[in-house]
């Protein structure tokens, strides 16, 4: 089954540099990818801890754990860190590691800019977190930071702005790097129509990073100007417009959420074929869906503003409903991939199937909000909280878990425990649904978002208790994952090059790959070159 002969000749020993210096100065995309993954999961755990604190506070009416100001900081930091310091960077991290491998390249187009892109992240993230030490605490205006509320508050809000400008810069640089790499560094035979779906998804993500993130940067600078330079962008007393912030933010914000999901769609589209033994059904349709969604994502932004009463309803509800069409196409293609397959339920596949089940719910509950008059009933309530978590957690995080189990052997040379993976999956699946499904009902019962407390006679207490119980179950499942990772890393690296019978080029080299990625590249004649190689071996 080995496609590649490992190098047997020894390389001349290089002068040993301290491992810390090695990692701090690396420009190797694989190491940078690992740095991204480590940093992202660290912020995941911090932001997750904030979520547990919130859920503990909300389990019962009355103030138990945190002050109101504390709670407001918690939900602001939770959203900000999860979105900007976990979800997007973890996908970018997998992209960093996998893209050169999947296209048969040596490294990214701009390795040093790649390193810079990474290091900007912990700097930006820590800047945002440092607000906790400022007078008045960290930013407390929500991750959406609506003006004019975000023009109040102390240095914590300014640190949030600065941190996000830094993080946004990292995004833009990554996007440039990925696009040039994918367009210019593909191996011979790897035409665009043979590109792995994950690479297509990261190309789409990169386009959005490059075109949408600068809009946020501009908005943040306007906000900073209002706060500290005496400007009036969002201040109606001297000619400014409060709605301007929302338009600017959501023009960025909606493409942003597609940046947060496309990579997961790519991962799932890689994993389902491998563990069904079938090709991805309708590969051209999947790519077309990615392209349409990427383009359309710039046209829907004001559906976040239906309740302002001052946006063009028919246009935005039309575009919002339109974008559900290519999304539906994705689901049909995934199901058709499974149909008549031979399914193996390794942990990557469990999480990929969980993704389909849960992302569907998140997509469907979004339909209620796509119609403006219905949105008037459920916007800014816990229905929205349910929706965003079904798509971002049930969707992307499950996709990230799938990717983690799938590519862990390639990155570390060791296979994660299957048993612990199953426990992780079921505990997380159960905990997740217990936490977030009741929130649909909470929204229908009128519980608004971003409230530190609620009244005992509101009828929301029991559902909140359920949600809190579920959140602790999620925490347990993540502990199982952590234990799995730690125990596995202590074992010697013995994973084969291709433990899953994969399709794409990363499985044509050792686990982990050598510094130069490939000793020999298989010929690329389809979008499943490694499978083609296996079939040829069998045929002989």
């Amino acid at each position: 089954m080995a496609i590649v002969e490992p190098r047997t000749t020894e390389r001349a020993p290089e002068p040993q540099r301290h491992w810390l210096v090695e990692w701090l100065t690396t420009t190797d995309h694989k190491r940078i990818g690992i740095l991204y993954l480590g940093n992202s999961f660290a912020f995941f755990f911090v932001a997750g801890l904030f979520a547990l604190l919130m859920r503990t506070e909300l389990a019962a009416p009355g103030r138990q754990l945190v002050t109101t100001n504390g709670y407001n900081q918690l939900f602001t930091l939770h959203g900000t860190l999860m979105i900007f310091l976990f979800i997007l960077p973890v996908l970018v991290g997998f992209g960093n590691y996998l893209i050169p491998l999947q296209i048969g390249a040596l490294d990214m187009a701009f390795p040093r800019i790649n390193a810079l892109s990474f290091w900007l992240l912990p700097v930006g993230g820590l800047t945002i977190l440092s607000g906790l030490l400022a007078r008045g605490g960290a930013a407390a205006a929500g991750w959406t930071s609506y003006a004019p509320v975000s023009e109040q508050g102390g240095a914590g809000q300014d640190l949030w702005i600065v941190g996000l400008v830094v993080v946004g810069t990292a995004s833009i640089l990554s996007g440039v790097n990925f696009i040039v790499t994918i367009l210019r560094l593909r191996a011979p035979g790897m035409t665009m129509t043979r590109l792995p779906v994950f690479v297509w998804s990261m190309l789409a993500t990169s386009l959005l990073m490059v075109l949408a993130t600068p809009v946020l940067t501009a908005g943040l600078l306007m906000l900073f100007a209002d706060r500290r330079l005496g400007a009036f962008f969002f201040n109606p007393t001297h000619g400014g417009d409060v709605l301007l912030w929302q338009h600017v933010f959501w023009f960025f914000g909606h493409p942003e959420v597609y940046m947060l999901i496309l990579g997961a769609w790519g991962v799932v589209s890689e994993i389902l074929p491998v563990f069904s033994g079938r090709p991805l059904f309708g590969y051209p349709g999947v790519i077309l869906a990615f392209v349409l969604i990427t383009a359309l994502s710039f046209s829907v932004w004001a559906h976040h503003m239906f309740v302002t009463g001052q946006v063009e309803y028919p246009f935005f509800s039309a575009t919002t409903e339109l974008i559900s069409i290519p999304t539906g196409v994705l689901f049909f293609n995934w199901l058709a991939t499974l149909w008549r397959g031979r399914l193996r339920f390794e942990p990557p596949m469990l999480f990929a199937l969980g993704f389909i089940a849960l992302f569907l719910i998140g997509g469907v509950d979004g339909v209620w909000m796509a119609s403006p008059s219905m949105d008037f009933a459920i916007h800014d309530t816990y229905w929205v909280v349910a929706h965003i978590h079904y798509v971002l957690f049930g969707g992307t995080v499950f996709g990230v878990m799938a990717a983690s189990y799938y590519w862990f052997p390639k990155i570390t040379g060791r296979l994660l425990s299957r048993k612990l993976g199953q426990w992780h999956f079921w505990l997380m699946f159960l905990g997740f649904n217990l936490t977030f499904f009741p929130m649909h009902e909470l929204g229908l019962r009128g519980m608004p978002r971003r409230v530190a407390d609620y009244l005992p006679d509101a009828g929301w207490s029991f559902l909140n208790q359920l949600a809190t119980a579920g959140s602790f179950l999620i925490a347990v499942s993540l502990l199982v994952f952590l234990v799995n990772v730690v125990l596995t890393l202590r074992r010697p690296p013995d994973a084969p090059p291709d433990p899953w019978e994969g399709n794409t080029l990363e499985w044509a080299t050792t686990s982990p790959p050598p510094v130069h990625n490939f000793d020999r590249l298989p010929e690329v004649r389809s979008n499943r070159p490694v499978r083609d190689g296996r079939e040829q071996e069998v045929a002989r």
Binding site: T68, D241, G341, F376, L444
Partner: protein, 341 residues
């Protein structure tokens, strides 16, 4: 197979009915339309949900890799343009129908009432609401952290609201009406509704607006026409009954965003001084006098200043009458009557 199909349809109908009950019925004419739209979406979404989850479960059960595989190669069919067309067509049909129905509901909800029986102006501010009854000439206001406003409306009569905010973006939300609308500083919103049910309905701000966003609650009572008239009468009289007599220099103290008194009195025709003591650290207040509540131009407007500080103002004589004073930052929540006798 037929029984299986029938029971599956029956299950779906039951599920739809159960889900339909999850949303409130809508205590206004417009709210009831929105509830109907909610049910329609269930009818559209449920088959999609059951279909996709069903196929997923089926694949998991039917196509799992078994030890005793028959050695047959797995089908490598990957579809073509025809399957793609079908996959695009199915959601397109659903979405078209959904869009058209939604537009109809939206038009009904947005339609302004030509002859509203009640005209309200509602102001949101950090962190309470003031409801002005424009034709009746009085207002009901909440006080931040201290008092939720309770205001009444007659059942079956159209209400027109002009909604705005004084400081940041707020949101007027009544869950039982299945409705919310942003209160935006500098961009007033207008909407109408007709309550259909007598009852007491809670509402609160639904757009995060700063520290005490979660406490920005109000109570809306829909009552019979007779009860409404009685309430209006009583509220109007209460507003006019605030009275006091001149008794030396005026002294106003603000603590916890509230004045120490709701009534000031001076003698007509003589200049007077007002000392304003702001005991709220870091919070700006001011003192302004208007001909009446809701008037645009003040007769006197002192500067805003942050606490803890005290300022004294010398004012020119005022003719006899009732005036309205307030802190412009906090509006009617910090207001009262200035009686000149």
């Amino acid at each position: 197979m037929a029984a299986c199909r029938r029971s599956r349809i029956g299950l779906a109908v039951l599920a739809a009915a159960a889900l339909a009950g999850c949303a409130k019925q809508g205590a206004t004419v417009q709210g009831q339309e929105i509830h109907d739209l909610y049910v329609l979406i269930i009818i559209l979404a449920l088959p999609v949900f059951i279909g996709v989850e069903g196929v997923l479960l089926w694949c998991i059960v039917r196509y799992r890799q078994r030890r005793t595989s028959d050695g047959q190669p797995v089908s490598q069919r990957a579809g073509g343009p025809r399957s793609l067309a079908v996959f695009f067509a199915i959601p397109t049909v659903i979405v078209t129908f959904f869009f058209l129905y939604g537009e109809r509901t939206l038009a009904d909800v947005q339609r302004p009432e030509p002859n509203p029986a009640v005209e309200l102006r509602i102001d949101g501010f950090q962190w309470q609401w003031t409801v002005y009854y424009l034709n009746e000439g009085f207002f009901v206001t909440g006080k931040t952290l201290t008092k939720e406003p309770v205001f009444e409306l007659p059942v079956g009569a159209p209400v027109h609201v002009r909604l705005e905010a004084r400081d940041v973006v707020h949101e007027f939300y009544v869950p039982d009406f299945l409705f919310m609308r942003n209160a935006l500083p500098g961009r007033p919103n207008e909407f109408s509704f007709t309550p259909t049910r007598i009852g007491t309905f809670r509402g609160q701000c639904a757009e995060f607006c700063g520290l005490h966003h979660d406490q920005m609650r109000f109570v809306l009572k829909v009552v019979s026409q007779a009860d409404y008239v009685a309430w209006v009468d009583q509220a109007r009289k209460a507003a006019q009954h605030v009275d006091c007599n001149p008794s030396g220099p005026l002294k106003l103290v603000s603590k916890d965003n509230s004045w120490n008194t709701g009534c000031l009195a001076v003698a007509a025709g003589s200049p007077f001084s007002v000392s304003v003591s702001n005991l709220d650290p870091g919070i700006e207040h001011n003192f302004a006098i208007y001909p009446k509540a809701g008037a645009k131009r003040p007769l006197f407007q002192g500067p805003r200043f942050a606490g803890v500080a005290e300022k004294t103002f010398e004012l020119r004589p005022l003719p006899k009458g009732r005036y309205y004073f307030q802190c412009d930052v906090h509006g009617p929540a910090m207001s009262g009557a200035l009686v000149v006798k």
